[in-house]
Amino acid sequence: MAGPSRKSGAKAEGRATNGSSKAAFTEAFDKDLYDGGDKYAGYSDSIAVRDDDDDDAAELNGRKLVGQYTASKDIMNEFASGDTAEADILMSRGESAQIQSRQTDYQKRQYDRALSPSRDGRSYKDVMKEQDVEREEARVQKLIEEKEANGGNEVLDHVPLLKDGVAAENGNKTPPMDRSSRRKRRWDAGDEEKDEVKIIEEPKPVEAPADKDTPMTDAPEPASKRSRWEKTSADEKKPKEASAAPVPSRWDKAVAPSASTAPPPPGAGQTPHPTGIVPFAFGTDISSRNAPLSDAQLDALLPSEGYKILEPPPGYAPVRKAVGVPQLPAGYQGYIMPEAESNSSLLGKQLPAEIPGVGDLQFFKPEDMKYFGKLVDGNDENDMTVEDLKERKIMRLLLKVKNGTPPMRKTALRQLTDNARQFGPAALFNQILPLLMERTLEDQERHLLVKVVDRVLYKLDDLVRPYVHKILVVIEPLLIDQDYYARVEGREIISNLAKAAGLGQMITVMRPDLDHADDYVRNTTARAFAVVASALGIPALLPFLRAVCRSKKSWNARHTGVKIVQQIPILMGCAILPHLRGLVECVVENLNDEQPKVRMVTALAIAALAEAASPYGIESFDSILNPLWTGARKQRGKSLASFLKAIGFIIPLMDEDFANYYTTQVMDVIIREFETSDEEMKKVVLKVVSQTAGTTGVTPIYLRDFVLQPFFKCFWVRRMAVDKRNYRQVVDTTVDLSKKAGVAEIVGRIVHNMKDESEAYRKMTVETIDKIIALLGVHDVDTRLEEQLIDGVIVAFQDQSVEDPVVLDGFATVVNALGERTKTYLPQITQLVLHRLNNKLPAVRQQAADLISRIALVMSQCGEEIQLINVGQALYEYLGEEYPDVLGSILGALRAIVTVIGLDSMQPPVKDVLPRLTPILRNRHEKVQENAIDLVGRIADRDPKQVTPREWMRICFELMEMLKAHKKGIRRAANNTFGYISKAVGPSDVLATLMSNLRTVDRQSRVCSAVAIGIVAETCQPFTVLPALMNEYRVPELNVQNGVLKALSFMFEYIGDMARDYVYAVVPLLEDALIDRDQVHRQTAASVVQHLAIGIVGLDCEDAMIHLLNLVWPNIYETSPHVIDRVIAAVEGLRNAIGVPVIMNYTWAGLFHAARKVRQPYWRVYNEAYVQSADAMVPAYPNLQDDVYRRHELDVFI
């Protein structure tokens, strides 16, 4: 960074000395203080060519040549670390694309779930039992954590207090339980034996603590260290204890297999280890130095007597990890000799760019190796079983779908879908689902895989049953993704799954998760259940829901049940109305649940139901009104917030009297909660206030007497404006209140805030007033308030430190609403604007110009034309503005003034303004272009006579460039302006310009010129244009001819039925175009025919149209998509012009032609006709003489 600036500094100095007499900024005037003389002596006087020159030229004699000002180090490094650290763009680009990078901690809990074993062999009972065990485990775990948090560390002996039942009989000390064995036990019954072995063995360590004289027993450090070794080599312990002989070292074990096998052939494929061990390149792995010592090493190091080996306390997980080294893979035991088939031989090898049998992929990530490694192992496919081959086939297809190019992906997806039933669910899902569980998945990959699941699901139908839970585990997290489309995809799949598996199966599978120990699982399951309800219908699920919500067994189940009821209306909206009563009855009792969490979620569910049902269905809520309202008086804190929320949604459903009564019942609670400091509560309270204010039953008088006073006291304070969320809520609620209480009432209370010292607060006030007045007008604002209003907005407008559109909008709204009442204040406003137009800040000038364009209409209504003209004159002088945004606003303001006062009274006169605009049209800034073209177009439209034709032609040339603009609005405006100008100065000159444009190379400008010719033809009658155009067609140049055809196409599109007079004139030209060898030619001619034919429907030109049809018809065999589309469109147009039967006569011939290539296009024509005019085809169908096929109805004759 210092390099270039130094160089330019040196250059500047050089320039200063030999050029002007002025001193350079960088010149040191205190030369005499330093060693004088020629300071350039010893420098090369040309710019350094070699890079390394820079470094030593920078500092000479310890003094820099150029004053260098840089930020202090801590400022420079501010974003390098800590919370504000910015990610390294290059390093993390790949990672940031991954889904997990944007997931919250809660969402990341999806990775904690494992795919459940498939349910083939297990009964529902087994699953439920398992759930119980898991829950118990979680409970125990929690107890332990609590214990530890409450000072469990003080236990000196580190003997865990939790014991296995059998061992407890041993005495006062109990053996700790091995966590790993506990985990295993749940899955396989075979472990029972192992447990017994353990129990027998375990007393041994228990005895050890008994001899208290052993030194160091109490020292916690070796104990905990020791425990970690234990953990890593749990299974090694048994042989050690069984035989007193020295433990066989790891070394022997690891070397043994490798010694027997030959060294791996270089480049041979490997199967990566399923645990995904991180491979290290040889010699680069320094982790061995930091690795924990192995048991064998420790045994050698430490004395074998006088020590005891302590058990790790239950729940102990080592927290200490070596810093700065790669994480060691589990079971790492130091360097292991490479074996064949071991993934350490992956080291340093490039990832394959091409997988055999797959082709070029877009990318291949290291993680993919884990799943697709089999494809590169180089085994011969000839000696594989059918199952293996199938597996590989699926793998290949999946890889193509996930990593392939779009066309590859498409075919692979198609194959997967078509063959899904042959592959079978097991083979498919065993590969797809683990892929979806991968942590490093990116959005696109996930989307594609989910798509695969969706398609496969559709094909497999009821075969998916055994995999329902597995699929759910993978798909449920999508339901709480931030990405909307991911959520939709998730819903889609679950609903398809539900339809395929059936309600019974879904309930059986999801029931155990309802009271799962993990609230993440419960939450996602509830959402999934709601999707099932929407897929299979609410009534089918209602009995089950009722049972779950009343579950006696655990409050977790009740909580989840109510949550399902909450999610259903969120998902289905008003579709719940027919089942509203049933749903409400499900949750009614939970409002008084003993668990506060259940009460809360019940209130939220009722709120969701009421919101979805609005404005109907109050009768369904009858049963919960009483508990809800009494509950609101009893609850505090979070659950009160949810109760109030429910109340807020129910009140709008009630009729007047009830709404009034129930509002008064709850209002004192709400007003009490105005003063809360809880953000959530604030939000709820504000929402409830605006909801109640919206109901008819609540009167303005009531609001004024009871609500407004505390509301303004609590919410209209400065600190509310600081937080964006509060800000929005308060503004919205205030606007809602004003709808009932009236403008004057509300605005009067806040108008003085526009002069507040806090800018955010001023802005909040202006925005509120803007919204209120835009909504309700100012009819009840009296003179005094009116003064305050204008005064306030002017102050707010003037005192902006950052120009904000909110304030501008507020200003414009107030002025426009007051209308003629603004007259007295206008001089002041005009002065303000003119003053600010002079400001040196571009944003201020821009805003001033914008304000003019917003209030120009009001100014003319007030009879302040003179003022307007003055402003116009000032604006005219600012046309030299250099900031494009400001210039655009100034042009916009000028346009507004011209619109209001008319071109004649404009000062300076239009003929002076326009020449100034011509060069501005060359500006490439979109805003400038848009406003300039609009202004020019307006002048050309209203009063083109004021400007000389010469000037108009000049503008025409400038407009030509504008036809290339990116923004459609600009291109359209430019085209329209062409029309106006050609009307003013006659089409011939404009046309000549446009025609010459047809010869340019640039396609866009040719197209736009063609459009412009079409417009000119429309505004100046086609006969002024057509001869020149047809003449131009004689130019033997493809582009020109095409341009002419395109212009004709646009022309006929615009002139519609005017085309009737020109049909016979253009037919020869079209004839020529339709038999041209060039495809594009025929394509464009076809679109001319289409527009022509549509224009003259019913105007008696059938003969010409049949002629054109004969020329168009052979083109239906075209295959290029653009061409064939136009040709079909032309046939459609002609069908309208000459009637369906004629076209049908052409079509019958090919519908059953022997060649498929003929049948296909003919059927396309047939289908188009069928879609658009099936009824008209009935008389045209062929009448067959065969007795069966004959349409006897048509023979009926009276």
Binding site: K410, T411, R1156, Q1160, W1163, N1167, V1178, V1196
Partner: protein, 94 residues
């Protein structure tokens, strides 16, 4: 390839919406059946036509309507036996 696929999908969508549309593998029998149904539907859909038919048959309009509606079930008889299986596969694939 992609275009072909898209065209195929569009055709499928079209046929899901309009039963009477056809494709290169539509048999004459299917087509004629659609013709019959379209004709009957057209008569039913135009009250004057329906009245004309009912007067000609000397029955009330509703009876004619029902009769015509019922005629729409296999208006040209059951589909002919398919001779070669390869053709059958082709139509199924569509």
């Amino acid at each position: 390839m992609a275009d072909k696929l898209r065209a195929q999908q569009q055709l499928e969508a079209l046929q899901a919406r309009y039963v009477g549309t056809g494709h290169a593998d539509t048999t004459k029998h299917e087509w004629l059946q659609n013709i019959q149904r379209d004709t009957l539907a057209s008569i039913i859909g135009h009250p004057p036509m329906l009245l004309y038919q009912s007067i000609a048959h000397g029955e009330c309009r509703e009876k004619t309507r029902i009769r015509l509606l019922e005629r729409m079930i296999q208006p040209v008889g059951p589909p002919p036996e398919v001779r070669n299986s390869s053709h059958d596969n082709q139509t199924q694939a569509q």
